[in-house]
Structures are given as structure tokens and as C-alpha cells.
Symmetry: C2
Subunit: 147 residues, 2 copies
DNA sequence: ATTAATCGATTACAAGTGTAAACGTATTGG
DNA sequence: CCAATACGTTTACACTTGTAATCGATTAAT
């Protein structure tokens, strides 16, 4: 793991990244076209986000003639892991299990997904603890209060 | 379900809500005290977020003398469901399973959590599909491309 | 060769967000 | 009764985010 801090990405910026993740290499036109359809963005709008992503170091811009070929500096999977981490930072560690259960309950899954999740869960069974430690400050969850 | 649109909540606002969810009823002092410790916020900062939450209708302010007793207009669980929904809106439905698996793999769980998740998963086994339908616009995922 | 289209960069601007001081009013400790 | 304190409200201000026009430099089409 590098010393680099995790760079944030907004929802709109992620729209751009998804195009690049999908295409591998993309021109601004590729990106503009997709998001003009999906989000009804003017070309200038997509360009703004491209510029911001390049500045943040999340998009790589390889000069190619007078234009650029863009590619992703991070994988979608890593990016999702980071986003998920930020999500779980906002709740008590003790609630993580229940929250994952809720997500699971609300998802549409394939047999393959179910199989994969079962594998991960089996692994978790081996490492499960009696009680997950609460990581909250007093006053932000009832863990310490209740029994 | 009401016709009400889901009201957004920022990370800082959630800090305030967590205190209220924990205490049930809270005075501004309760909130200020917790977040002064946790986030090093000046009292005025917490007050700003309280005010914004009230304006958004996420916090209820019951007059009590010259001050208010605050309570939550929505449950933490509902709020987390909404936040989770927003998270999954940003990825292809087909990736949801893998993403949940990643979250699961990274979590610390209790035996009880594992049991709960196993139950939900067993239920999912019954309703799992052969292939999850991709919900993406062309150019934002490779589902249609790959086999 | 000139014009039209394109590209990236610059600039714009409103709304949202984080952070907080100041202010007016009310309450409470002395 | 008066002063210190506490509350909620108003105002402030920089930074971020969403949305886009404009501009200067090219390139492509005629």
C-alpha cells in the first residue's frame, strides 16, 4: 500500500470514471457521448469533470496528437472498496453486520453471486468473534449502554 | 411509502443525527458535547448542522421552555437503507453481488451477525436468478459486451 | 486556403458543505 | 436585580460540486 491518501471522487466524477473503466482507453468524445445520453450533460460539463479527475490524479491523460487518450489511474474495484469504507466509517462497527444483511436482502443476485457470498461467509464463520468491538464515541451509539 | 422524496444528509449532519438516534431525545447541549469531543467542533458548528437538519425536516424540534428537545424524524436504519441505495445506484446491478461480497470479506462480524447473514443468504438462494440484468447505459459497463 | 468543427483550458456562477463568529433574547447563579 | 451563561438565529466565508459558456489553438472538410 502506498503512502498516497485516498482521493475522493464525487458522484458525477464517478460517471466519467465508469466510462473509462468500461472502455479501458477513452477519448473525451467517448465520455461526452455516453454522458450526453445518460445524464443529458452538455459536452462542456463532461469536460469539466474530466479536467477535475485529471487534476486529482484519478484519470491519466496520454497525449495523442493534439488530444488525449484517457485511462483510469485506479481500478473500479479499489475505488468501490474505498467508497464502501467511507460508508462504513459512518456507522458503528457493531452495526456493520446488520447493515450488510440489509444490503444483501435488498439485492438481486445470481446463483454465482450467492455462491461467492457463501464462500466469503464460510470464511467469516471461522473468524467471527463473540462480540464486535464498538468504535463509537460515547453518545453516538448505545453499545456501551445496553447490557 | 409516502410520496415524500428522500432528503439527503451530509456526513457532518449524520454525526448530529447519530447522537439523536442514540439518545432518543437530545438537547443541543447533548449534541454539542459529543461532537466537541469527537470532532473538535465549536458549539456554533454543531448548531449550524442542527439548524440545517431541522430545516430539512430530519430533526424534530419540540419546544421546551425557551429551548428545544430534538428527536429524529427518521430511523437510523431507514437512513442507512437510503444511503446504501444511493451507493448501489452508482454501480452496475450485476456488480452488486461482488461488491457485497467484498464488504462482507472486509467486515468484522460476530457469530450472531454471521447467522443473520446466513439466513438472508439462504433466502436469497431461493430467489437467485441465472443472470442479473444489467441496468447500465451502453458505455458504462461491459455486461453487454462480454459473452 | 478558408471555414467549420473539435479539443482542452479558462472562466463563471449558483447551490451545497464545513466551519464558525456574532447577536439578541432568555435564564440562572449570586 | 444584575451579571454571566446558554440558546437559537443570523450572517460570513472559503471550498466543493454541478452545470455550462467561452476562448484559443488545431484539425478536418471543402
Amino acid at each position: 500500500m502506498t503512502v498516497e491518501e485516498k482521493v475522493e471522487m464525487t458522484i458525477s466524477e464517478r460517471e466519467v470514471m465508469r466510462v473509462v473503466w468500461t472502455l479501458g482507453n477513452a477519448t473525451s468524445k467517448d465520455i461526452v457521448d455516453v454522458l450526453e445520453r445518460k445524464r443529458d450533460w452538455k459536452p462542456a460539463t463532461a469536460k469539466t469533470f474530466i479536467g477535475r479527475l485529471v487534476k486529482k490524479g484519478l484519470l491519466l491523460a496520454e497525449p495523442h496528437g493534439n488530444k488525449y487518450i484517457y485511462s483510469a489511474a485506479i481500478s473500479e474495484e479499489d475505488s468501490l472498496k474505498t467508497a464502501a469504507d467511507r460508508f462504513f466509517e459512518q456507522i458503528c462497527h457493531k452495526q456493520a453486520g446488520k447493515t450488510i444483511a440489509d444490503m444483501l436482502a435488498g439485492a438481486t443476485l445470481s446463483h454465482q453471486d450467492v455462491e461467492l457470498i457463501q464462500q466469503v461467509l464460510d470464511d467469516q464463520k471461522k473468524r467471527a468473534v463473540d462480540e464486535v468491538a464498538c468504535n463509537c464515541v460515547p453518545g453516538q451509539c448505545n453499545c456501551s449502554t445496553q447490557r
